[in-house]
């Protein structure tokens, strides 16, 4: 098997394992998925991503160009699709295909994502008006992002955040002081976590600066939150 094909097989396996996790598979499944993710790396080349999604690279580039599929700049300067985002896309695609077979399932999946993002209510995202004038845009954005996360927080999102935190700790990409704070915060009941991530005090603001809920909202939803904050600021 060529390394290109191997990557594509691994990505599809990662998506299957992720689907099993979401359906309630035991903890060990996530460990295997993370091992496979390490083998693939944090991003996938656009040509491979296109093949996995069943489209041409030209079609993928069009989606990237209009902001529907995110790419990141790798340390070597290439524009690649983040593995986490690609797996989310595969799962969305699977849902669309299962509900009713269509000729262009990716287009349908992306349209449904856009519609979900547009349904985010600005009233629930923006903090109360006096706060908006008193805080920096970054602080308002962080708070708004976490208000959306809190509104839909479930156990799976907490498990994902804890795993992300563990990975950042392993790779040294989080200050140990904040990693410990987050570990404690994430061990609390859901209602308490919701309060912690949306509280507008000094600790809440500091915690949100290194939040393991990065990626908890999809690409389109995050863009929608940014739009709402920009319009409301």
């Amino acid at each position: 098997m060529t390394s290109r094909n191997q990557t594509e097989v691994l990505v599809r396996d990662i998506a299957r394992l992720r689907q099993a996790e979401l359906a309630g598979a035991p903890e060990g499944v996530a460990d295997v998925r993370e091992d496979l993710e390490e083998m693939v790396g944090p991003t996938v080349g656009r040509a491979s991503a296109a093949r996995i999604l069943g489209i041409t690279q030209t079609a993928l580039d069009r989606h990237v160009e209009r902001g529907a599929i995110p790419v990141v700049i790798t340390p070597s300067g290439r524009r690649e699709v983040p593995l986490a985002e690609l797996v989310r896309l595969i799962l969305d695609l699977t849902t669309v295909t299962r509900s009713s077979p269509r000729s262009r399932p990716l287009g349908t999946a992306l349209r449904e994502r856009r519609e979900r993002a547009q349904s985010i209510d600005p009233q629930t995202v923006l903090p109360p008006a006096p706060l908006v004038s008193d805080r920096s845009t970054g602080e308002i954005r962080g708070l708004a992002f976490h208000r959306v996360v809190a509104a839909r927080l479930d156990r799976q999102m907490v498990v994902d955040a804890r795993r992300r935190l563990r990975r950042w700790r392993r790779t040294g990409t989080i200050d140990e002081r904040w990693a410990s704070e987050w570990e404690q915060a994430l061990s609390r009941p859901l209602a308490e976590i919701q309060r912690t991530i949306t509280t507008d005090d000094a600790r809440g603001r500091d915690l949100r600066q290194s939040s393991p809920f990065a990626g908890a909202l999809g690409h389109e939803e995050r863009q929608r939150v940014l739009e709402i904050v920009a319009e409301g600021a």
């Binding site: 990141v72 700049i73 524009r79 986490a84 954005r141 790779t171 990409t173 990626g215 908890a216 995050r222």
Partner: protein, 97 residues
């Protein structure tokens, strides 16, 4: 943040902002001291702003800021992409490449 991580962040920001990028705050030390003591390198955020065109700061933030795919993927992010006050500009140290 290590020097190569700062370079990665600047490269990513540079893809969006067609401008010189200025790094301020604690991570700026990496430009002249790549092997700075670990205690100075605990932050995974860097204060970066476009030198000539502050209007692109929002685009940089949208693309690689807090909660973005870039942040999720690499754990790195720019924290401030705003225009720096004038007095600071006298103390800029240039780095290219």
């Amino acid at each position: 943040m290590k020097r190569h991580e700062l370079e990665h962040l600047i490269r990513a920001a540079g893809e969006i902002a067609d401008d010189d990028l200025v790094v301020i705050g604690s991570q700026a030390i990496l430009a002249s001291h790549p092997d700075a003591p670990p205690s100075l390198l605990v932050s995974l955020e860097a204060d970066i702003y476009p030198r000539r065109d502050p209007a692109v700061a929002r685009a940089v933030d949208a693309a690689i800021g807090d909660g973005s795919s870039f942040h999720e993927t690499y754990g790195l992010r720019p924290t401030r992409t705003a225009w720096a006050p004038k007095p600071r500009r006298r103390r800029l140290a240039g780095r290219t490449g």
